[in-house]
Symmetry: C2
Subunit: 139 residues, 2 copies
DNA sequence: TTTTATATTTGCAATGATTTCAGAAATGAA
DNA sequence: TTCATTTCTGAAATCATTGCAAATATAAAA
């Protein structure tokens, strides 16, 4: 759990004015590692904050993604979800329960890709899909 | 370029009846390595075939994906595109020109991911984004 | 070949996540 | 406080994708 004042500084450093809504949304994605959709964030915060618009959540998350503070995941092709952890890691999506799991990845994994000379890589996403250990045990 | 009769066999082997539309769509995605969207396939084939419905293109591509004959890519979060090459390879999307490029990847690249024991991996997608060599040279 | 059943295609309407937009509210500076 | 700027809001619009029911094509049976 990161302190609110620390999160505030991060927003300011990124050139983003830390409004009440923005700070709440930022705190949510940084403290919940559940890869929430915009809608999930909206449902979780609408009661905490007096009022909140779903549009604000969409706009704010897009702002964070563009600033590099949050990752946008498209591992499930039917919706977008967000990850406050911007460090390099892989994602696994269980076909059975839908859960998205973080997996550690070696820092030099791009060495496995051939012919990258001349390319400028700004972002890398490794998406794995299949059956998670919990669902496998159930069968 | 693969022969039409060969493509026909592949569909039959997958349990898919090779109708005129299906064969045309299958031939398109297997011979064009441009990662087309459903709409692009539709526009390319509507004139060749007498008539064609966009719904048919969506349904057919989904059929191919479910049968494992074609890959679904979600590297661009605003639309889905398709890849007739189902072999293991990475994809790069240029932020500048939007082009999606195939990149070779070492077959054992999953060794770079920690803690995969217990997981059953059915699909892996490595998406890279940034600036391609052609766009870099232009600047 | 004709009939019948089944599979496929079609076009339009519906869906639903996301975005746009214009006005309202909040914020910061003077 | 006043003014200017930024941010938030909610409703309406967008657009890729899907659902559905009718039309067509294909295969099997008679």
């Amino acid at each position: 759990m990161i302190a609110r004042s620390e999160l505030k500084k991060e927003l300011i450093n990124a050139g983003i004015r830390p409004s009440v809504q923005r700070l709440a949304i930022y705190e949510y994605v940084k403290s919940h590692h559940t890869h929430p959709t915009a809608d999930v964030v909206y449902d979780a915060l609408r009661d905490v904050l007096g009022s909140l618009s779903l549009t604000t959540v969409y706009n704010t998350l897009k702002l964070f993604v563009d600033a590099g503070l949050v990752q946008l995941l498209t591992i499930d092709d039917t919706f977008r979800c967000f990850d406050g952890d911007t460090s390099s890691h892989a994602h696994f999506r269980c076909d059975s329960c839908g859960r998205i799991v973080d997996l550690k990845i070696k820092s030099d994994f791009l060495a496995m890709v051939d012919g990258l000379g001349g390319f400028e890589i700004k972002e890398a996403q490794l998406y794995l899909k299949g059956i998670c250990p919990i669902c496998k045990r159930k069968n």
